[in-house]
Amino acid sequence: MGRPLLGRLLRTVLAVWALASAVFLLSRNDANTATLLALPDFSASVMAGSGSSTDYVAAQRVVQRRLGLDLPLFYASRPHSSPTNTPRWHWNGTQNQYHRWLIRLMRGDLGTSFRTAQPVANRLYQALGFTLPLTGTAALLAVLAALALARRLAAKPWWQQPVRAVLVAVHALPLFVLALLLLLTFANPAVVAWFPAYGLDQLATTEADSWSRTQTYLLHLVLPVTALTLTTLPELTLQLDAALAQELRTDYATTARAKGLAEENVIRRHALRNALLPTITQVADLLPILVAGALVVEVVFALPGMGRLLADAAAGRDYPVLVGGVLLTGAARLLSLLLADFLYFWADPRIRWQS
C-alpha cells in the first residue's frame, strides 16, 4: 500500500501548492483594496483638517510596506513603463512577495493577518478549536445514521421509495436554505425558540460556572450539527444503499439466504462489509467537504469558527488568512487520503494480506 499512497500524497501536495499559489497571485490583483481597507479612516483625517493628499499617499506607502505589498509580486514582471515602449519582462530576483511567502511557508510561518496583525496560524488554530468539534460530531452522526438507515432501506420496507425521494431532494438543497429553515423554525421567537440563534462569541465572559457553560455550548451546537448532518447524510445513504442493493443480488447473498439466514443477517454479516468499500472514499471525502459546509453553517448561526473566519477574510480582503484557509483545506484533503487508505486496510482483508 506504500507506493501508490505516496504517489497520491505527493500529487495532492503539488495540487495544494498550485492552488494556494494561484489564490496568492490572483489575490494581489486587488492589493489596492486591501490597502484601502487597512488604512485608518481617510475621510476622518480630512475632516479633522490634518489630512492632505500627500499625507494620504504617505500613509498608503506605510501601510503597503507594513503588509509587504511594496515589493514586486513575482520573479518576473512586465511593468508598463511608457506608452511608446512595448512592455518588456523585468527580472526581479528573489526580493518579491511570492518568494518571501514561499520561504516563510517552508518554515511553517503562514504570515500575519492584514486586519488584526495576528499570526495567521494563531487565528486558524483558535478557529479550528471551535470548528473541529462541530464538524467532527456532524461527520460521526452522519456516518452512523447513514449506516443505520441504509441497512433498514436494504431490507425493502414499504417506505423505501418515499425515503429515497426525500433523500434525493434534501441532497439537492443548498445547505444555507436548510440551515436558515432550521434557524427560522427552532430559534425564532415567533415560532419556537428552543435554541439560541447566536451569541457563542460572548460565552467565555458571561458564564462563570463550567457546568452551565457546557450546557450553553451544547445548546448552541444542536442546530449547526443538525444542519451539517442533514446535508451530508443523503449522499452517504444513497451510495451505501445502492452498493448494498448490488451486493444483495450477488451469488454469495443467495447462498447465504439458501442456508436459511434471515434477510437481516444476510445484510449485516455478509453484504455490508463489501458494500462499505466504495463508501469509504466518500467518508474520507467528508473531511474537506465539512470545512466548506462549516463556511455556510457558521455564517448562518454566527459561530466563531474556521468557516466564518474564511468568509470574513474574503469580505475584508484579508489575503494571508484566505491563503492559510486554502492550505488548511488542502491539509484536510491529505489527511482524508491517509484516512481512506487506513480504512481500506481495516475493511478489506485482501489488502491486508497482500502487504
Binding site: R11, T12, L14, A15, V16, A18, L19, A22, V23, L26, S27, R28, N29, D30, T33, R78, T86, P87, R88, W89, V168, A169, A172, L173, P174, L175, F176, V177, L180, L181, L184, N188, P189, A190, A197, P288, I289, V291, A292, L295, V296, V299, V300, L310, A311, A313, A314, A315, R317, Y319, L322, V323, G325, V326, T329, G330, R333
Partner: protein
C-alpha cells in the same frame, strides 16, 4: 436516433418543464415586465411590509424586505441573475469538459506531434509573450516552418514528440478537485473583485472537471468499438474520426449530468450571493434576499418566496434529469 423519437411526458415532468420555461422566460423578459418597482429602487416609506400592502407607487404583492425593496421584483430579477449565470456556466463547462475529456480519452498519452510543429508553437509562444529577445522565437518558428515544408516536399515523415493530453487534462482536473468548490470559489472571488463575467468564468473553471471525467470514461469505452476501427481502416484522419464518429457517442452521459450540474451551479450561485461574495451587492438575487431575513426574523415572506422558487427549480431539474436517464 433515440433522441428524435417522441417521448411521452408524465405530469410531474410536464409541470417541471413548464416551471423551468416560465423561469427562463421571466428571466429574459424581466426588464419588459410591468413591474411597479425595480429591485434597486427601495420604497423607504414601506419597509418590511407584509404581502398585499399598498406602496407609494403601486401594490407590493409579495411585500417588501428590510431595505424597502419590492420582493416580487427582486424575485423576478433574481431569477434573471440565476438563469443568466448558471445556464451559460453549465453549457460552457459541458463544452469544455466534452472537448478536454473527449481528447484525453481518445488519444490518451500516446498522441504525437511532429517536431516542426512543436518548434512553430514554441517559437510563436516565445514571440507572443515577448520573452527576452523576441526575434529568437521568430527564428525558431521560421526554422520549424522550413522543416515542415521540407518534410512535405520530400514526402518524408519527420520525427515526433509525444503530447501527454490525458496527463495534462486529468492533472488539471485533479488539482481543481483537491479543494471543495465553495472554498476555492470564495478564495478566488475575494481576490479578483466582483463582476458577473468574472463569476461566470470562475464557475465554469470549477465545474468542467466533472463533465470531463464523464466524457473521458465514456470515450475510453467507445474508442475500442468496431466502428471506430472500421473508420480507421477506411483511412479517415484521426481528428475527423474523433469529432464525427466518436464524440457524439461519448457525449451521452452529459445528458443526465447537465441538469445535475445546473442544480449544483444554482446552489453555488445562491450560496455565494447569500454570503455576499462574488456579485456586487446591488445585483438582485434569491440568495441575497434570503440573507436579509436575519435582520428581520419575523418577516416570513422574505424567506418563503425565494426559497420556494429555488427549491421548485431544483426539484424540477431533478425530475427532468431523471427523465433523460430513463429515455436514453
Amino acid at each position: 436516433m433515440a433522441v428524435l423519437t417522441a417521448v411521452s411526458f408524465s405530469w410531474p415532468q410536464k409541470l417541471a418543464g413548464s416551471w423551468l420555461v416560465l423561469l427562463v422566460l421571466g428571466a429574459l423578459l424581466a426588464p419588459y415586465l410591468p413591474l411597479a418597482y425595480l429591485p434597486n429602487e427601495p420604497d423607504l416609506a414601506h419597509v418590511a411590509e407584509a404581502p398585499f400592502g399598498r406602496g407609494s407607487a403601486g401594490w407590493h404583492w409579495l411585500g417588501t424586505d428590510s431595505q424597502g425593496r419590492d420582493v416580487l421584483s427582486v424575485l423576478v430579477f433574481g431569477a434573471r441573475t440565476a438563469v443568466l449565470l448558471t445556464l451559460p456556466a453549465a453549457l460552457l463547462s459541458a463544452l469544455i469538459g466534452a472537448l478536454a475529456g473527449g481528447a484525453a480519452g481518445f488519444w490518451g498519452n500516446s498522441s504525437r506531434l511532429a517536431v516542426p510543429y512543436w518548434l512553430m508553437t514554441l517559437g510563436g509562444l516565445w514571440w507572443a509573450l515577448q520573452l527576452p529577445v523576441p526575434l529568437l522565437g521568430v527564428a525558431v518558428a521560421a526554422l520549424g516552418t522550413v522543416a515542415a515544408g521540407l518534410a512535405f516536399w520530400h514526402q518524408r515523415p519527420s520525427p515526433t514528440w509525444p503530447v501527454p493530453i490525458n496527463a495534462v487534462v486529468m492533472g488539471v482536473a485533479t488539482t481543481l478537485d483537491t479543494i471543495p468548490r465553495l472554498v476555492l470559489v470564495v478564495a478566488i472571488a475575494a481576490g479578483t473583485g466582483v463582476s458577473t463575467g468574472g463569476l461566470l468564468a470562475l464557475m465554469t473553471l470549477t465545474t468542467w472537471p466533472q463533465s470531463a471525467r464523464l466524457v473521458r470514461a465514456q470515450m475510453l469505452r467507445i474508442r475500442i468499438l468496431p466502428f471506430i476501427e472500421a473508420a480507421r481502416a477506411a483511412g479517415l484522419p484521426p481528428g475527423r474520426i474523433w469529432l464525427h464518429h466518436a464524440l457524439p457517442h461519448a457525449l451521452q452521459p452529459l445528458k443526465t449530468a447537465l441538469p445535475l450540474s445546473l442544480v449544483g451551479l444554482l446552489g453555488l450561485e445562491s450560496t455565494l450571493s447569500f454570503l455576499g461574495i462574488g456579485l456586487p451587492p446591488d445585483v438582485a438575487s434569491w440568495g441575497g434576499l434570503m440573507g436579509t431575513i436575519r435582520a428581520e426574523p419575523t418577516a416570513w415572506w422574505i424567506f418563503i418566496f425565494p426559497s420556494t422558487c429555488l427549491i421548485t427549480s431544483i426539484l424540477s431539474l431533478l425530475v427532468l434529469g431523471k427523465k433523460s436517464l430513463v429515455s436514453v
